[in-house]
């Protein structure tokens, strides 16, 4: 295990991810997609479990929710990312795919502290200490 793997928090400049953009960052031994959706931050695993597409490059929008035949019920506005490779969709809040809530991405905590985006891995932060600025 590298020293970085033991880090429970990483941070990046807020200015590198202005509203309406996204990026990816290597942290916690993996790649994390970070989204700034109108000032609200989301961080999920960057790798689509379908074919490995980079989710940080995906369109952020809403989706058509389950509905009766021939009705469109739009929802989850600005809360869904669509993988740029084949189109799997994920709820940015929960990491769940829209077709099967049992399939979900790892979700990371993202908050702003002193103009920095601070990411933490909920699973690690319970047991480990440490921080890394990027």
């Amino acid at each position: 295990m590298s020293s970085e793997d033991r880090i429970a928090q990483v941070s990046l400049q807020l200015t590198t991810v202005p509203p309406g953009t996204s990026t990816s960052i290597e942290a916690f031994g993996t790649t994390i997609a970070v989204f700034n959706v109108s000032g609200k931050l989301f961080a999920i695993s960057n790798r689509c479990p379908h074919r490995g597409g980079p989710l940080c490059k995906g369109l952020v929008s809403g989706a058509h929710l389950p509905s009766e035949p021939f009705e469109y019920r739009y929802g989850l506005d600005d809360q869904v990312v669509t993988c740029p490779w084949h189109g799997w969709q994920f709820n940015l809040e929960t990491g769940e795919t829209l077709f099967d809530s049992r399939k979900r991405l790892r979700v990371y905590e993202a908050r702003v502290e002193d103009e920095m985006i601070v990411l933490s891995d909920p699973l690690r932060s319970r047991t480990r200490k440490g921080a890394l600025a990027v």
Partner: protein, 367 residues
């Protein structure tokens, strides 16, 4: 082993045989139109030896499938068939007729003939009522008129159509079928005939074997259409049978459908679960024409990739057509532990047939 045959064809000797059951308004059309009488649009692809077994021509004349005694001796008795589901023959081209009113009237006459002249003759016979899908409200009316007969077990329509059967124009058919409690079936027929579009996306095949090899493609187009249009979500009690469309294509289509649903479900949000799960629960398929790989075990290897397919597959012979397959021909090619289910159990459940009821039913009884 008990055998229920899910696809046995019966036919009239001549179209005017249906006149006693046809609205008077259409008699002249049948008797005098065209060159000396109406002909239902026929397939443009011709097989030199004919579409039916030449050994099935009744000694009393008429086309194969037109004589019950021949059918009994050559098929029902010969193979000890417990039940045979009678499906029309030439009438399966009814969806190729331009005039939807005449098409509906001919289908209704055929159904009347079936109910009055065929079904009372032998308690092993169960029937499918044919509907002309061109005008779905007329088809629905016919289902409500004729579908309640005790020996009618299915609504049947040809695969030939100008749109996938999930299209909303066809929904009145499903509504009526669910109301009456009958499954809906499609059977190869009328593809590329009359007013129907070509049976392939690149136009009309040139040769009969070309058409016949492509035969499953229209059927699977309808399967995909039904799923994507949410028909099974809209009609929660609808059961759907796909007859004579082959089987080995199904794994590939289901794999593709499931993958599409995961990736592109946003355009069809009404499809509430994996298409393969819906197909497994709500659709049934018949064996003939069972694909014939050079190495026999390859067929079962393919079919076994469909989870639960042993409960979705029903034996069908297609008697008296040229590509008929008897029970032994079919069942020995399937896994041993599938045979009871495919031979009779699945059809018994799909058509609501009781074990031993054939012997107990008085011939000619009707509701």
């Amino acid at each position: 082993m008990k055998i229920i045959d899910s696809d046995v064809h019966y036919n009239y000797r001549r179209l005017p045989d249906l006149l006693p059951w046809l609205e008077r308004a259409h008699h002249d059309f049948v008797l005098y139109s065209g060159f000396g009488g109406y002909s239902v649009p026929n397939f443009p692809w011709m097989k030199e030896s004919g579409f039916s077994r030449s050994d099935a021509v009744p000694s009393t004349g008429g086309p194969p499938g037109s004589d019950l005694e021949t059918l009994k001796a050559q098929h029902l008795d010969a193979f000890d068939i417990e039940y045979a589901i009678l499906n029309g023959d030439e009438i399966l081209n009814v969806s190729a007729i331009p005039n939807p009113h005449i098409a509906a009237a001919l289908a209704a006459a055929h159904n009347g003939w079936l109910i009055d002249e065929w079904l009372p003759q032998d308690s092993r016979l169960k029937g499918s009522i044919t509907v002309a899908p061109q005008e779905a409200e007329l088809a629905a009316k016919e289902i409500r008129r004729a579908g309640n007969h005790r020996d009618i077990v299915q609504v049947l329509m040809p695969t030939g159509a100008p749109a996938g059967y999930g299209d909303p124009r066809y929904h009145p058919i499903y509504e009526a079928a669910v109301e009456i409690g009958l499954p809906v079936a499609i059977h190869v027929g009328a593809d590329g005939c009359g007013v129907n579009p070509p049976p392939s996306a690149v136009g009309y095949p040139t040769y009969y074997p070309e058409w016949h090899a492509l035969l499953p493609t229209v059927g699977w187009t309808h399967v995909v259409s039904l799923i994507c249009n949410g028909v099974f979500e809209k009609y929660r009690d609808l059961r759907f049978h796909v007859l004579e469309c082959g089987t080995a294509w199904l794994p590939a289509v289901l794999w593709r459908l499931d993958a599409e649903w995961k990736a592109n479900r946003t355009e069809i949000p009404w499809v509430s679960r994996l298409p393969s799960e819906t197909v497994r629960e709500r659709m049934r398929f018949t064996t003939q024409p069972l694909e014939e790989p050079g190495t026999g075990r390859h067929l079962t290897q393919v079919l076994e990739t469909i989870e639960g397919f042993e409960s979705m597959l029903m034996f069908a012979s297609d008697y008296p057509h040229h590509d008929f397959e008897g029970p032994e021909q079919i069942l020995r090619r399937l896994p041993g532990d599938w045979r009871e289910a495919v031979a009779h159990e699945n059809a018994r459940s799909a058509y609501g047939l009781k074990a031993g009821a054939a012997e107990a039913e008085p011939a000619g009884a009707s509701s």
